[in-house]
């Protein structure tokens, strides 16, 4: 893998973590209200998937979508301003944390009804297929969404009509506060795709390189006209479901284990600071490969500790500036709300 891409993905993840932790602080201070669903722990998925996507691809996401928006290129200040409900937010302050949109970047929205996104993404895929363009739709969803009827309805239609949709499950093992074995008869999400003859794969969602690699392969298949694909990325969220949720239903030891050993940011640092190992190296490393890879840190010449520190400082400044941008942005007015509702009514035969 190219060094530049590795560094880019590492910076994405550092920015994502810093942005989300700051959002939590701003929420605590009352600058962000409503529901706020944060992403720490899951960064490798958004980064690995979206860095494998093309600018012409379409993204459909959930209410836990700040990082998808950031990696897609929406400026952090514009995302933060939307979280603040301000006029300069990417949805003009009309959407909020759960409804980030950017038409130009083909970021087709964050949606807050679990399962709502499957038909929408499938429909975008239908329109893409009608145009015969080599574009794909990437649909993010959680493990909790796969028990909605829309999941099955959409997988069926996507497979039936060979639509260019990549379904990406961010399996963090909890639907709000209920662990996957208590909400799903079949806890392996990828297996469900088999019922629709959709090629599916389970990957380590804590490893940005694995996610990136799997996405590249899946998108290649999709662009070749072979229909939808599904990736199940196993991950873990370090925080509760939302800021309103302390996450107390999860055993402390489980959370600790993930934070200590599975933190995707730590893993990415190790992977970037050390050269990405070959297949033989991974095999030789055995199950304790994370620690072994970390051991490469000192020897690596890809990124020094000082460079890493500079990267951390740089993203902290970006987040600081994003908060200032959001704070300075004006509040939208009721006329803006009305304009958002009416703005496209230009058909003169209507009235």
């Amino acid at each position: 893998m190219e060094v530049d891409l590795l560094k880019t993905m590492l910076r994405d993840m550092l920015l994502a973590r810093a942005f989300e932790e700051r959002a939590a602080q701003e929420y605590a201070q009352g600058n962000i209200a409503g529901f706020l669903h944060l992403y720490p722990g899951e960064e490798a998925i958004a980064v690995g998937v979206l860095r494998a996507a093309e600018p012409a691809d379409y993204i459909v996401s959930t209410y836990r979508e700040h990082v998808h928006a950031l990696v897609r290129g929406i400026p952090p200040g514009v995302v933060m301003a939307e979280l603040f409900g301000k006029k300069d937010g990417c949805s003009g302050g009309m959407g909020g944390s759960m409804h980030l949109f950017d038409r130009e970047r083909r970021f087709m929205g964050g949606y807050a009804i679990v399962g709502e996104t499957f038909p929408v993404a499938t429909g975008i895929g239908y329109a893409v297929a009608m145009r015969r363009l080599p574009e794909a739709v990437i649909c993010f969803f959680g493990d909790g969404a796969v028990n909605q009827g829309t999941f099955h309805e959409s997988l069926n239609m996507a497979a039936l009509w060979k639509l260019p949709v990549l379904f990406v499950c961010e399996n963090n093992h909890y639907q709000i506060g209920t662990e996957i074995h208590r909400h799903s008869a079949v806890a392996e999400v990828w297996k469900r795709a088999c019922g629709y003859r959709i090629p599916a794969k389970r990957i380590d969602g804590m490893d940005v390189l694995a996610v990136h690699e799997a996405t590249v392969a899946a998108l290649e298949q999709i662009r070749a006209g072979n229909g939808p694909q599904l990736l199940e990325c196993e991950t873990y969220r370090f925080r509760g479901h939302s800021m309103a949720d302390p996450g107390s239903y999860r055993p402390k030891v489980e959370l600790q284990a993930f934070e200590d050993n599975e933190d995707p940011v730590k893993i990415a640092i190790a992977e970037t600071v050390a050269a990405y190992p070959t297949g033989e190296q991974i095999a030789a490393a055995g199950s304790g490969n994370i620690e072994r890879l970390s051991g490469h840190l000192q020897q690596s010449e890809l990124l020094t500790a000082a460079q890493l520190e500079a990267m951390r400082k740089e993203v902290a400044e970006v987040v600081e500036e994003a908060v200032h941008f959001a704070a300075r942005s004006p509040e939208p007015a009721m006329e803006d709300a009305q304009a958002a509702l009416d703005c496209n009514r230009h058909d003169e035969v209507l009235i």
Binding site: G93, G95, R103, G109, P119, V120, Y126, A127, R345, L350
Partner: protein, 326 residues
């Protein structure tokens, strides 16, 4: 001017729009190869092919949402839901996505879909196939609701709805697909907003929509011939947004108002029109407005009970007589 049946008028609108714009598609259960339960898409599959005339699985929420997603990219889907009773299953996509996406995206995305569906009570279809749901749709901000009472409206409203940037719900009627009426040979677009005085009168205004316009017209004939009362009949072909000015203008002329609706009275067209009358022209009234509505029960299967649950022409006549007497 040709005489067309309601279904033929709808079919013609589909055909013209699909011939004009390759991005206009139609979709629904059995609409393609089978030509549609009510023939509204008959022959289109052969003409435009399976990609644009989509026989969908029985997945109302799924395929409605698929249409919405496609519409984000400029596709113009006309989605047939075989019966409004099945539209409940698609409510999430219609209400949460189509009606709100422009708003919550700050105006960036819009969902120019048309959902067509027959509502109303037909003949002994039982409680789960006889719902009247227009009252549910008309209460949702961001969604337009129209309901044609004639083949001409069915044609012109669908033409305008397909060209409209907003999501539009078209409430048709199970019993009206074979209704005949004149439709101009020349292409035309019916306004999506407004109401129409279909019979002039001076003594009372009867507001109807869809099938109840016909009941109101029949009642007006009886009132004129047998009682010397001249009722004005106003066709509320737009249920959202309701034509406040049109409602107020007619009531200001006749000073009496009765709303004839096929649905149960609660939270419906009648109650909304009454509220508008109160707000716009209360002091023009000579008598309290009345509603002639269905009985507040799910529609019974039994033929006699089904009939008894729905308003009849006689109920409208009686309501007018009781109101005029006051």
């Amino acid at each position: 001017m040709a005489e067309l049946m309601y279904w033929e008028a709808i079919r013609r609108a589909h055909d013209e729009e699909m011939a004009r714009d390759p991005l206009v598609i139609c979709m629904g259960e059995d609409i393609g190869v089978a030509g549609g339960t009510y023939k509204a898409t008959k022959g289109l599959f052969d003409k435009y092919g399976p990609e644009r005339v989509i026989d969908t699985p029985i997945s109302e929420n799924g395929f409605t949402g698929l249409g919405i997603g496609a519409s984000f990219l400029g596709v113009r889907p006309v989605i047939e839901i075989m019966s409004v009773n099945f539209a409940w299953l698609a409510m999430d996509q219609i209400f949460n996505t189509a009606a709100k996406v422009r708003y919550m995206s700050g105006g960036q995305l819009t969902a120019p879909i048309v959902v067509r569906s027959p509502g109303g009570t037909a003949h002994q279809l039982g409680a789960q196939h006889s719902a009247r749901m227009e009252k549910v749709f008309m209460g949702i901000a961001g969604l337009r609701v129209v309901t044609p009472s004639t083949p001409k409206q069915a044609y012109g409203l669908l033409k305008s709805a397909i060209r409209c940037e907003d999501p539009v719900f078209i409430n048709e009627h199970e019993l009206m697909y074979n209704l005949k009426g004149e439709v101009p040979d020349q292409e035309f677009f019916h306004p999506l907003e407004g109401s129409e005085v279909v019979r002039e009168g001076r003594d009372v205004t009867l507001f109807g929509y869809n099938i109840s316009v016909h009941w109101a017209l029949q009642a007006a004939e009886v009132l004129s011939k047998q009682h010397g009362i001249e009722a004005e009949v106003v066709d509320l072909y737009t249920l959202s947004p309701l034509d406040r000015a049109g409602i107020a203008a007619s009531v200001s002329k006749t000073h009496r108002a009765i709303i004839v609706e096929e649905a149960e009275p609660a939270v419906g067209v009648g109650s909304e029109v009454m509220a508008i009358i109160n707000e716009e022209c209360f002091f023009e009234l000579d008598a309290a407005p009345l509603r002639v509505s269905a009985v507040n029960v799910p529609i019974p299967y039994n033929r006699q009970l089904e009939k008894a649950a729905l308003p009849a022409v006689k109920d409208v006549v009686d309501a007018v007589l009781s109101q005029v007497a006051k």
